[in-house]
């Protein structure tokens, strides 16, 4: 009897369970195939590295000439006596980008929420197409539109802001004027036009994240008696927060680097100020576009100075964009699985 119990308790000794190592043996063809793909994938790093290397090489002359003063000089004189720096064009460009973001991010999120949460299914597809089309409209068309359509119409609004809200430092205006030319080509107008180019980026990235908010949690919110907005606020927005932050950063990168539309709209200015309504603004990209034709020879200081400015712009946007891309990638949803 005890012996039987013993045998029941003690199972026969089995060899220890070891997980089978799964080794995929790739055929020669596959190895070549995977190698080719890997090389193509990593070529993005090669291209980025090349861009950095060549910009640094070409900018070296200007950096050597100006030294640290390149960061503190406001003027841009590249013919002798040479004296140039990014102290005016960089902050002006950042102001344009910030104004663009202030307009584009709330609008983009509202559009994204409408598309993913409110729009009837049939409308959804065409609205996505509209946003795609908006992203495909050339920036030169935005520039034309901003210069000849928007500017004459927005100046009235500008001058009203300047005259009545002038006590707010940002809207402060040099003189109390309603002359149109004093408001044309300002940081604000450039920012508004750039915001239209940032809206599609913010919208499409945040829409992709919003639409991945789990259905179960949405239904849970409804079951607890949430209104549609309640559901959006408690489920969709927290889920998409990281995505929205990442989208904003990618939008910032785009806004910092916008060239042609800004070039067409602004009147160049060389003393940085926070008065966004005042005529005159600047940006690195537009400086390159405007100044470039005067330096056809490779070795000139003027071209080297432009390369230096371009390098600063590239480094800045690359850092901002990479952080944005990492934030998006790390978010719970991740755009890697986006539709």
């Amino acid at each position: 009897m005890p012996a039987e119990a013993n045998t029941r308790i003690m199972p026969p000794a089995l060899p220890e369970d070891t997980p089978r190592a799964i080794v995929a043996h790739h055929s020669t063809g596959d190895r070549i195939f995977r190698g080719t793909l890997r090389a193509s994938g990593w070529s993005v790093f090669v291209i980025t590295g090349l861009i950095l290397a060549f910009l640094i090489a070409r900018a070296a002359k200007a950096f050597r000439f100006m030294g640290v003063q390149f960061l503190t000089t406001s003027s841009w004189v590249t013919l002798s006596p040479q004296h140039f720096g990014i102290a005016a064009i960089l902050p002006f460009g950042i102001m344009i980008a910030l104004i663009a973001l202030i307009i584009a991010v709330p609008t983009g999120i509202a559009i994204a929420l409408y598309i993913s949460e409110y729009a009837p299914p049939r409308l959804k597809r065409s609205l996505i197409a509209v946003i795609d089309l908006m992203a495909a409209i050339p920036s030169i068309i935005f520039g034309l539109w901003g210069l000849l359509f928007l500017e004459p119409r927005i100046i009235g609004f500008d001058s009203w802001l300047g005259r009545h809200l002038g006590w707010i430092p940002v809207f402060n205006f040099r003189q109390n004027t309603s002359v149109a030319a004093d408001y044309a080509g300002s940081t604000f107008i450039a920012g508004v036009v750039v915001s239209l180019m940032v809206i599609p980026i913010v919208t499409s990235l945040s829409r992709q994240v919003f639409s991945q908010a789990p259905q179960g949690e949405r239904e849970g919110a409804y079951a607890l008696g949430a209104t549609r907005w309640g559901m959006v606020r408690t489920v969709v927005l927290p889920f998409g927060r990281a995505g929205v932050i990442g989208a904003t950063m990618l939008g910032l990168g785009r806004a910092l680097g916008e060239t042609i539309a800004v070039t067409l709209i602004i009147t160049p200015a060389w003393d940085f100020n926070f008065r966004v309504l005042q005529a005159g603004s600047n940006s690195i990209a537009s400086r390159i576009a405007v100044d470039f034709p005067s330096f056809p020879q490779g070795g000139s200081m003027g071209l080297s100075a432009l390369m230096a400015a371009g390098l600063v712009l590239f480094a800045m946007t690359l850092i901002v964009n990479t952080i944005g891309a990492i934030v998006i990638g790390r978010s719970r949803s991740g755009l890697a699985t986006a539709d």
Partner: protein, 397 residues
């Protein structure tokens, strides 16, 4: 038993019939509140904006109308609904206007360019002439975009030919090989999609033109375009490849297919329409790029059909030079160029929507019709075979 029936009788009054809650209903109150707020805001805005306060400008009028509308709508809604619904309605209205605004902006941009461009485009010679014979005093009938059209098409085709193979291979790497090592690649590709477009031009200038000695030409411009298009192609194709069902791949492996056969014979054909869409969308994005070509293409006023030799103008470049020129007629020409460019973008966009847009494996209407036709033919054939064999049997008997 008796007690039991009694309790059920007393405790269970007729249960209310379950009616499904309708989330999306159009009620008279809702519509009237909306319309009333809109009309009221319009009136109030007119009084305030035009009469009481010294405002000016059309844009300001509509901005303040919208602000007044939101305030009035919230106020009217608060009179009849509880706090939660008011907040809900307010958000619905705000988000819906967001969607409307996006559509309005796109329509405005496209329509404005087309309407202003018509003044130049109504002379058909605009599309067959170059700027070679045009001088500052020439009338609008002289001078056109023929050279810029040729340049744009050549540059975008070359750029696509350069960007698509590499971009597609990189997308295949991200989607098919993947793994931990693919992560930084995806991050960098994401970051490069928002690369300032002028940097691509600057890089080609520093690398190809100044260092390798390639002359400024259409080919240099297409290299710059390829760099801006590469991350876009990669991102978009990866998104398409990712939704090819894994079961299809597994079926191929189970049949003994190697990975490259699987990709070539299963994954790519399944994703074909989506990939085509990705490519055409990238073309639509690339065709309008001005900044990259500005630095490396040069600017020619006459026709140059050879992208490898001599300066070549593309449409965006043409528009840029014309709009910055002080001659009034040149502004009209710029809009004429804008007309052509917007039309090209729209055509590419429509093609992209036509060939794809659906999930992989989802058939277009045309493909479905063809399959149905084949199906019907097969059934008729089968039917005939049946009757034939029946007849043969009958003859044997």
């Amino acid at each position: 038993m008796a007690a039991d029936t009694e309790t059920t009788q007393t405790a269970a009054p007729e249960p209310a019939a379950d009616t499904p809650l309708r989330l999306r209903t159009v009620t008279a109150e809702g519509v009237l509140t909306l319309a009333g707020a809109a009309a009221g805001a319009l009136g109030l805005d007119w009084v305030l904006y035009e009469r009481v306060l010294p405002f000016s400008g059309v844009l300001g009028f509509w901005v303040s109308w919208y602000a007044l509308f939101l305030v009035l709508y919230t106020a009217v809604a608060a009179l009849q609904w509880d706090k939660l619904s008011v907040r809900d309605k307010f958000c619905s209205v705000a988000f819906t206007t967001g969607g409307l605004l996006a559509t309005a902006i796109v329509i405005d941009q496209v329509a404005y360019t087309l309407v202003r461009g018509w003044a130049a485009v109504k002379f058909p010679r605009f599309f067959t002439q170059t700027m070679a014979d045009e001088g500052p005093l020439s009338p609008i009938q002289v001078g056109g975009v023929a050279h810029a059209l040729v340049g744009t098409l050549e540059q975008i085709l070359l750029g696509t030919a350069l960007a698509v193979p590499l971009g597609l291979l990189a997308a295949l790497y991200l989607a098919e090989v993947g793994g931990r090592a693919a992560r930084p690649v995806r991050t960098l590709v994401d970051a490069m999609t928002a690369l300032p477009d002028i940097i691509a031009g600057l890089f080609i200038l520093a690398f190809c033109v100044l260092t390798l000695g390639l002359p400024k030409s259409g080919f240099a411009a297409s290299l710059a375009l390829a760099i801006t298009m590469l991350p876009i192609v990669t991102r978009a194709s990866e998104a398409v490849l990712r939704i090819v069902p894994g079961t299809l791949r597994e079926a191929s492996y189970a049949l003994g297919g190697s990975q490259w056969r699987t990709v070539l014979n299963v994954v790519l054909p399944t994703a074909r329409s989506g990939l085509a869409t990705a490519v055409v969308l990238a073309m639509a994005r690339g065709i309008g790029e001005t900044a990259p070509v500005l630095l490396v293409a040069g600017y020619a006023r006459g026709m140059n059909t050879n992208p490898f030799h001599g300066w070549q103008t593309s449409l965006p470049l043409y528009i840029y030079y014309e709009v910055t020129s002080p001659v009034p007629d040149d502004k009209i020409r710029a809009f004429g160029g804008g007309f052509a460019l917007v039309l090209l973008v729209l055509v590419l966009f429509t093609i992209a929507r036509r060939i794809g847009g659906g999930a992989p494996g989802e058939l277009t209407r045309r493909q479905r019709r063809r399959l149905e036709k084949q199906d019907a033919a097969r059934q008729i054939e089968a039917g005939q075979r049946l009757t034939n064999s029946g007849a043969a049997e009958g003859a044997e008997a």
